[in-house]
Symmetry: C2
Subunit: 260 residues, 2 copies
């Protein structure tokens, strides 16, 4: 099942998306819902990011090739994480599928994508075993952890490198039925595929992260966990179109606009 | 004016607190409100944290003595921040005035308070000048940035060191009228005052942070900015009572319970 969040007639709704149509609901997948008899063509509504999370978690570095290639670029030894320490991103930066990524005029040319599987939490949980960890998940969507690498290297935190407004595209919808082991993540820049990796080849998987996080933190409905990316990325420039596809979910597409 | 958020008859309200009474409102200070004719004694309601922020900002290190004393304890040279790079905390960890700070059973004895002025944003703003930066502020409250120092040193991020459930007491209410230059922050552990500092002796003040943040990020109503703390802190143990007082706001009081 696919959950879309969208604007219709100036109001925000959730709906179930199937065969190019969205069946509007009253309520939401988090608090409960009833189907309405209103249906929209998906082309007739404006999609929103499928959720604004109460807390926005991000694994950060969680694929080995990403760490090795980033270390090589920086001329450092690669340091693999020893445990599933989670990080954070910020809700101000979230945009939807097909909204533009706006690059501030004082940013450098080092603006790069990071293609990530996003876990969307559906239930409040704490102290979850690895075995039961997937039960609290509503579904999965796609995130682009857009990064300004010069700021990332210079600043004391990743606040503007990762959380400048529009730097966190997320969508297009939440897919509730996926096969985590069979998924592939691929990225195309201007229709040219640049990388493809097994979504499941994470250092620490979804189960491990949820198990470790919930030893100390309560996860809430709508919280998201961005699971990290693989490989290194080229710079993106004004006018580029970045498309991230994950098997079974769909494609998250955003254009790049450099502000002047 | 003081804004309290509280539970009455199982429902959550905002109200204006004056002379031991809360005047209930319909709406909120963020979206607009009308006064009701319902008044409660403050002792008859359960206070909540005065806001759950869409984004939870934290200055982290922003007082010189805190940096020098922390560096001395760690046997390192103190490194003062060169600019107002902002960090983040997480909403899951927020508790209210008079709720207990729960220490996980596997935490070490190094559980410490950090007494902080909290800025509560009232309006959506971007690209704010230093001169106009205070206009977007609804008011101020008090935060205790409880920290587990062993985890802070060991983990790749500060996720559990700073954001374990209950580690972010905030309250008791939002005070809209303060004199930033005249405030003092003091901390008492079990009724013994351990530190007192000029709230305004920050390395980067509220104006500078809001100016710098909003060059890149939109601040939203309800966002909070925790402004950092001064000095070093002793460890807190099971049964301790930690009280943080800031002139003109009030006192945030929380007990410490070590889970077994």
């Amino acid at each position: 099942m696919r959950w879309a969040r969208y604007i219709s007639d100036g109001k925000t709704f959730y709906g179930i998306y199937e065969n190019e149509e969205i069946n509007e609901v009253r309520g939401s997948p988090f608090e409960g819902y009833t189907l309405s008899n209103i249906k929209h063509k998906i082309s007739d509504v404006k999609l929103l990011a499928p959720v604004i999370p109460p807390t926005f978690y991000a694994a950060g570095i969680n694929y080995e090739r990403h760490i090795r290639e980033a270390a090589e670029i920086l001329g450092r030894d690669p340091i693999l994480p020893e445990k599933a320490d989670i990080g954070y991103r910020a809700a101000n930066a979230i945009i939807a599928h097909d909204e533009p990524i706006l690059i501030p005029k004082d940013a450098t040319e080092k603006i790069q994508y990071e293609a990530e599987l996003v876990v969307v939490i559906g239930k409040e949980v704490k102290n979850v075993s690895r075995e039961n960890s997937l039960e609290c998940i509503l579904g999965y969507t796609i995130g682009n952890d857009v990064s300004e690498r010069t700021w990332q290297a210079q600043d004391r935190t990743m606040w503007r490198a990762k959380n400048t407004d529009t730097f966190k595209p997320m969508g297009p919808w939440i897919e509730t039925n996926v096969d985590l082991d069979q998924m592939e993540t691929s990225v195309a820049l201007n229709n040219k595929e640049l990388i493809k990796f097994k979504t499941s080849s994470m250092i620490f998987g979804v189960e491990e992260y949820i198990h470790q996080i919930t030893k100390y933190l309560t996860l809430h409905p709508g919280d998201v966990i961005w699971m990290g990316t693989d490989g290194a990325s080229p710079n993106m420039s004004h006018g580029d179109i970045c498309e991230i596809t994950i098997t079974g979910i769909g494609t998250l597409r955003n254009s790049i606009i450099k502000l002047s």
